[in-house]
Every structure is written in C-alpha cells, then in structure tokens.
C-alpha cells in the first residue's frame, strides 16, 4: 500500500520535473516548482519523515517559490529565450551516463524498507535504543539534531547566516548600482 502511494507520487514528481524542464514561461515554471515541492513533502510523509515534510512544505512551496517569483518580478523577464539547439546531445549523454551508473549502483543497495541494511544497522540502531534514555527527548530527530550532532547543526546554522549576509551584500544597497553600459567600457579606458 505504502509502495503504491510512493509510486503514484513519484510518477507525478517525474511529470512535474519534466514540465519544469519543458515550459518556456518562467512564471508558470515557478508555480510548477511549488507543486513539485508539495509532492516531495507528501513523499516525505509516506517515508515516515514528518519533520522533513514540514520543512520541505514550508521551504519549497512557500519561501523558494516566492523568492523565485520576486526574482522574476525584479528582472522583468518572464520568458525563456528560444535557445539554439546546438547543446542538446552532450547534456543528454552526460545525464544518461550518470543515471545508468547510479542505477547500476542501486544494485548493491538493500531493497526499500529492509530493516537490516547497513544504514539502519550501525549508529542509527544505537540512537533508536539509547536516544531517549540519554537525552530525555522522545523525538529522536530532535535528539540527534540538537544533541548527538550539535556541532554539525551549529555549522549548518552558520551557513544559513552566511548565505543571508551574502545576499545582503549583493542586494542590500537601497539604490541600484549603475553599471556602465556594455560596449562603452572600452572607450572609457
């Protein structure tokens, strides 16, 4: 049952990804991207990860899509130019090679939901059996995030802050910087 739900959502997901690839209208692409994120959030719920689903629903459907729309409104360019068809074969080959290698690699992964697969047997088993006794927090995701991997999380929060500072440095000025018109650069020098 869970697998059926999984597959239906994954087929929708693939359709959305292809729609994002195909559409020429960038505003429509932003909305499709929001739908894609919502489907991913649904998949996370099926995969027993409500914490991740929360985040993906708020980030992917909310913030990311809104930021994409605001960027489009700011650059006032809603259409993708019809690009020349010269670069189609190379990327396709790269993608097919990557996908083929990855699918070949999945041969060694235990099937979905296997209890005694390597990712589930090692440190994760320790977290599940000892987590609540050692931290007093029943939600193991919070326990691992904040306590066992506190150092890791400190780094992640610093990355978020750094990215925010970077955006402020790039766009923070109240006035737009006037860049010299292209082509005039040479005459000036």
């Amino acid at each position: 049952m869970s697998l059926m739900l999984n597959l239906v959502l994954l087929v929708f997901l693939l359709v959305m990804a292809i729609a994002v690839l195909k559409t020429k209208h960038l505003f429509a692409m932003a909305m499709l991207f929001g739908l894609y994120s919502l489907l991913v959030a649904g998949l996370f719920v099926v995969l027993d990860a409500p914490d991740v689903a929360f985040t993906e629903a708020a980030v992917g459907t909310g913030i990311s899509t809104v930021l994409m729309l605001v960027t489009l409104a700011s650059i006032k360019d809603g259409h993708e130019a019809v690009s020349s068809t010269k670069r189609k074969i190379g990327p396709l080959i790269i993608c097919l090679v990557m996908g083929g290698l990855l699918i070949f690699g999945t041969h060694d992964i235990a099937k979905l939901g296997e209890i005694h697969s390597p990712p589930n047997d090692q440190v994760a088993a320790y977290y599940i059996t000892q987590g609540q006794a050692e931290t007093g927090v029943p939600n193991l995701v919070t326990a691992v995030l904040a306590s066992y991997r506190g150092f890791d999380t400190l780094g992640e929060v610093t990355v978020v802050l750094t990215a925010g500072i970077g955006v402020l440095l790039l766009l923070g000025q109240r006035r737009k910087i006037h860049v010299k018109k292209r082509g005039q650069t040479h005459d000036d020098q």
């Binding site: 693939l14 996370f44 027993d48 700011s74 360019d77 690009s83 990327p91 993608c95 029943p138």
Partner: protein, 121 residues
C-alpha cells in the same frame, strides 16, 4: 525478480527525477531555469537519502511505548538541515542572477558569453 524490481523501483524513479534535474541544469541557457534544475536535482538527492532510512512496518522516529519499530532518524536529520541550507544558497544564486541582469541586461547564458567575448576583443 519481481521482488527485486519492487524493492528498487523507488530508487530508479528518484534517479530519473535526478536526471531530469541535471539535464535542466546543463542544457538550458536561462539562469533562472538552471537554478530551478539545480533545486530539482537537490531535492531528488534529499529524497534518495530519506528513502534509504525507511523501514517497512516502521513508524515515525518518535519513541512511544506502543511501537517498537522505527524508521532511521539519521538521514532525516541530515536532510532536514540540508533543505534549509539549500534554500539559503539558492537565494544567493537568485541574488547573483539579479546582479547579472543589471550588469548585462540579460539572463541568457549565450548572450552573456557573447557580450564577454566582445569585451575581450
């Protein structure tokens, strides 16, 4: 054979989504579209990690006396932070796109490349 396919088809679909994302990233010249492709690729990788931690018959990793079998919390923790960091870095990408638009008045990679070459001559 059927069992093998049913156990792995989930991964194959996720890899297909990954391929579509990567193809969008490489083949399209529009910078916004490239960033959307990058985000799709990233989400697919996140999905792959989370699906590795799924346990059949398991439940959400919140300890309760009524359950004994839980899914793996570790991939969820790592991917949770990766999503938030991902949107912050994507926003940085959008900021760069806005600045590129101001400097070059286009967000098509080909046009930017042509303008740069004209500068060098």
């Amino acid at each position: 054979m059927i069992e093998y396919i049913l156990g792995h088809i989930n991964y194959w679909f996720i890899i297909a989504v990954m391929m579509v994302g990567l193809y969008t990233l490489i083949s399209r010249a529009n910078l916004i579209k490239k960033l959307a492709g990058l985000a799709i690729f990233q989400t697919a990788v996140i999905l792959f990690y989370v699906s590795l931690g799924k346990v059949t018959g398991g439940t959400v990793p919140i300890v309760d006396e009524a359950y004994t079998l839980y899914s793996n919390p570790l991939p969820q923790v790592l991917m949770l932070t990766a999503i938030v960091v991902g949107v912050a870095t994507t926003a940085l990408g959008f900021a760069l796109v806005i600045r590129i638009k101001e400097a070059y008045n286009t967000i098509e990679e080909d046009a930017i490349f042509t303008l740069d070459q004209k500068d060098h001559e």
